[in-house]
């Protein structure tokens, strides 16, 4: 069992290492995170103040925590829909992946997760620090939310990679998948709570969002990390994440198998 997991561990490390070479890109990402962060502070703080200091369970401090945690996760949670495996399916080099004694889906996801985990170092943590120092935010004082939050964060990142893998697999059937990728980008960010916390949505839209895996990618980890949801309820959010991850992974397995046959028909 250990020996069979070793290649995946190596892929994870390779993903981390690959990403760590793009230093300027990471700095660019941080500038983008901070700029959007300050713009969100302006408009969301104004909204909280216009509502009389409290809005949907958020005050200025918790709203700040939401803004900077979401900006920090932006580089790690794949809400853009692009992935290396999509390019490999498009140019046909995925055939080589099928020849390796590894599960194509697991290998692709693990590598993306590696890249995402690295992004927390130059982009994620500094974004949150900028927010904490320049704007200030309220965070929980007990260790429990951080511990569970970390698990929730990794689950969110993995779920994002797993759903983007599904986006990539549409390439087995379509010649050009950019359209699907853009569609994913548009919907995922909004429903994951990237621009506005989903608890500010009107009820019907909130129900719609929670019926998708997207809040599990970003909103739930933020809720757990910031302590906005705690106790048994926070465990419930993590359970929802695990459920979605299992479902998406299963669909990925089926699609990969079907897609492989489709690819063979085309001749590769």
């Amino acid at each position: 069992m250990r020996a069979s997991l070793l290649p995946y561990w190596r892929l994870l490390v390779a993903g981390i290492r690959q990403q760590s070479t793009y230093r300027l890109a990471a700095l660019g990402g941080l500038v983008a995170n901070a700029t959007f962060g300050f713009l969100k502070v302006a408009v969301l703080f104004a909204t909280v103040e216009a509502a009389g200091g409290e809005l949907g369970g958020y005050d200025v401090g918790t709203m700040s925590a939401y803004i900077w945690l979401s900006q920090g996760m932006l580089g790690s949670v794949n809400l853009f829909g692009r992935s290396d495996i999509a390019d490999r399916i498009k140019d046909g080099s995925v055939t080589t992946d099928f020849l390796r004694p590894l599960d194509v889906q697991a290998a692709a996801i693990v590598q993306e997760v590696g890249k995402s985990l690295w992004a927390l170092v130059p982009r994620g943590i500094p974004s949150v620090l900028i927010g904490a120092v320049v704007v200030g935010m309220s965070m929980p004082s007990s260790p429990w939310p951080y511990l569970l939050g970390l698990i929730s964060l990794v689950l969110g990142i993995t779920l994002g990679a797993a759903v983007v893998y599904l986006v990539a697999t549409t390439g087995f059937w379509m010649v050009e998948t950019r359209g699907v990728q853009v569609l994913y980008m548009v919907i995922s960010g909004f429903l994951a709570g990237l621009f506005v916390p989903i608890s500010l949505f009107p009820q019907w839209l909130h129900a719609l969002a929670t019926a998708t895996p997207f809040p599990s990618m970003m909103m739930y980890p933020i809720d757990v990390l910031s302590g906005r949801v705690d106790g048994l309820a926070s465990l419930g959010l993590v359970a929802a994440q695990v459920g979605w991850l299992g479902a998406v992974a299963l669909i990925g397995q089926i699609v990969t198998r079907r897609g492989r046959h489709k690819l063979e028909v085309q001749g590769g």
Binding site: A34, F38, A51
Partner: protein, 266 residues
């Protein structure tokens, strides 16, 4: 004249090329429409919670959003392709452009025109029309003139931003997100009521990247609202100056970038 015919032929071929993958093109049109709708929804969700924000009601902010979004959508249609410059630089494709007897920037702009973005402009246009109908506007020739002026200037400001970003790419290999912060952050800023900004943001997106001139300031003047500190509504009439400033900066960056470029080594 012969030159123009060449451009027309090139553009027509781009249009045909995009329509050849039919299913993908349809998804493209739909996604583009959805982008517009969801960007509007982001604004709407906030106003769903509070009555007014930064001195604007929802029907009033529709004018800010609409003006800025129409300008950005048409810019994106014509200039959005500049975003691909880093790919061209890395792949060495840009060197081919240097060989042709046409201005580099013009070639870059016409190398693609993204029809899919047309549907997105429809959302902005619908917002402007709705805002002009539902709001109480003291119609006069000057209001009409200001509307036209802000549309044209808004297009100029956003397109300058794309050219500025492209110029900076010659230095920022792999660092495109740095300029995205200001191009796409600028679009986001342009749809906000500028009154909510603190001073650094007013300097950055009010004047340095003159985003407030694309939607917020014209909307203040058209709706007859007073502006906040640093952004009085009469500034709306200075949108052409903002456009000239933006283009001066853009061409400067582009020129420095092109001079700096050493070739892709391909």
């Amino acid at each position: 004249m012969a030159d123009l015919a060449a451009y027309r032929a090139v553009l027509a071929s781009r249009v045909r090329a995009q329509r050849s993958y039919k299913a993908n093109f349809r998804i493209d049109l739909l996604s583009s429409l959805l982008i517009g709708i969801i960007e509007l929804a982001e604004v709407w969700v906030l106003f769903h919670n509070v009555h007014s924000l930064g001195g604007f009601t929802f029907s009033q902010i529709l004018l800010v959003f609409g003006l800025a979004d129409v300008a950005f959508s048409f810019t994106d249609l014509a200039f959005g392709h500049c975003d691909n410059l880093p790919t061209y630089i890395r792949a060495g494709t840009l060197d081919v452009f240097y060989l042709r007897p046409q201005p580099l920037l013009l070639q870059l702009i016409t190398s693609d025109i993204s029809l899919r973005r047309l549907t997105r402009a429809m959302v902005g246009i619908a917002c402007v029309v709705t805002a002009l109908v539902v709001n109480d506007i003291a119609w006069s020739p000057s209001v009409v003139a200001l509307l036209a002026l802000s549309m044209v200037s808004g297009f100029a400001v956003f397109s300058a931003l794309f050219v500025w970003a492209a110029g900076a790419q010659f230095f920022l290999i792999n660092g495109a997100e740095m300029t995205n912060a200001f191009v796409y952050g600028g679009r986001y800023a342009a749809t906000q009521p500028g009154a909510v900004w603190n001073r650094p943001l007013k300097v950055l997106f009010g004047f340095f990247f003159p985003m407030a001139f694309t939607g917020y300031l014209p909307a203040l003047e058209i709706l007859g609202l007073p502006g906040p500190e640093w952004l009085p509504s009469w500034l709306a009439w200075c949108t052409p100056l903002a456009a000239i400033w933006a283009w001066a900066m853009a061409l400067l960056f582009w020129r420095i970038g092109v001079r700096h470029y050493q070739g892709g080594g391909g």
